[in-house]
């Protein structure tokens, strides 16, 4: 009996999750667009000009939320991987894979905006600051994960190998961050303070939070659409997928 229950769990969860993801995605798109629109409005019209950094500081309204999301998504992916390896659920691995490109995108946005912030403030496009360097390493970790999963033809092996890599990565991130910080202070390099040092007033914090929530909704929506594609690509031969598409056509 228990055996049959597990089989059901393992095999039909992508099939049952597919329509659910289809229903959730539009909701999160709407939430994302709304929140980001509010956030943009606030970052340009409500948040005051910083007396030291002028209008340039407005970059932090995308930079900081993007950095948060890039780290947060990696943690979530590692969480899905742990669930997948423990309970042997295929959907968990698919979720991790669905999140990866979006996480990498946010890491890239964080680096890009960081560099555009650094140029007027420090006069250089790239500063070997502890946080920016860590973000770069995080981007490498994302790329490594995506390359590994893409390089393995056997889906089951790709799922599990990727999951192990994510868990190894998540254990290493604190060590990497600590070492980069140590290195940075030792060399007395530039330390960019993107928030908090002068006057982080409440509107600024609120704007960043709203943007972060918007990015968060965006990530969920993107992951939902991507997981649908992954499910369909893998289950193309199954009857449920064929029935589903057949009905629509």
């Amino acid at each position: 009996m228990q055996n049959r229950l597990i089989n059901w769990f393992k095999f039909s969860s992508p099939a049952t999750f597919y329509p659910l993801a289809g229903r959730l995605a539009p909701i999160f798109w709407v939430v994302a667009v709304t929140l980001i629109a509010i956030g943009l409005y606030m970052s340009f019209f409500v948040a005051p000009v910083d007396y030291k950094q002028g209008d340039g500081y407005r970059i932090i309204f995308v930079h900081v939320p993007a950095s948060w999301m890039s780290m947060f998504i990696y943690l979530i992916m590692a969480g899905w991987s742990a669930i997948g390896l423990t309970f042997n659920t295929r959907l968990s691995f698919m979720m991790a894979q669905a999140l990866a490109p979006t996480g990498a995108l946010f890491a890239f946005i964080s680096l890009w905006t960081g560099s555009f912030w650094g140029k007027p403030m420090w006069g250089t496009w790239w500063v070997w600051d502890a946080r920016i360097t860590s973000e770069l390493i995080l981007l490498f970790l994302y790329l490594g994960y995506m390359a590994l999963v893409a390089a393995i033809d056997d889906r089951r092996r790709a799922d599990r190998a990727g999951a192990i890599l994510l868990l190894v990565g998540v254990v290493n991130i604190p060590i990497i961050y600590f070492s980069v910080k140590w290195w940075n202070t030792l060399h007395q390099g530039a330390t960019i303070r993107m928030n908090g040092q002068t006057s982080m007033d409440e509107t600024m914090l609120l704007t960043m939070l709203i943007m972060a929530l918007g990015f968060w909704a965006y990530s969920i929506a993107a992951a939902m659409v991507r997981v649908q594609s992954i499910i369909l690509e893998r289950e193309a031969g199954s009857t449920w997928a064929q029935d589903l598409i057949g009905e629509r056509a």
Binding site: T102, Y218, V225, G246, R248
Partner: protein, 56 residues
């Protein structure tokens, strides 16, 4: 302060719009790519369906 004044970033225009612009570009292109991938997967299954029904 008018609408345009609020968007005038002065000497920071390149940096602010460079950041926001690229972010916006990324977050518009990604959903479009996702849409394309899902449609492709659906079309492939529809094609498989047709092939199977032709065989029978």
């Amino acid at each position: 302060m008018s609408f345009l004044d609020a968007l005038d970033m002065g000497k920071y225009a390149l940096y602010v719009w460079g950041s926001f612009g690229v972010t916006a570009l990324c977050m518009i292109i990604e959903p479009l790519l996702l849409r394309g991938r899902l449609d492709k997967a659906r079309r492939r299954i529809a094609r498989l369906n047709r092939m199977e029904s032709n065989e029978q």
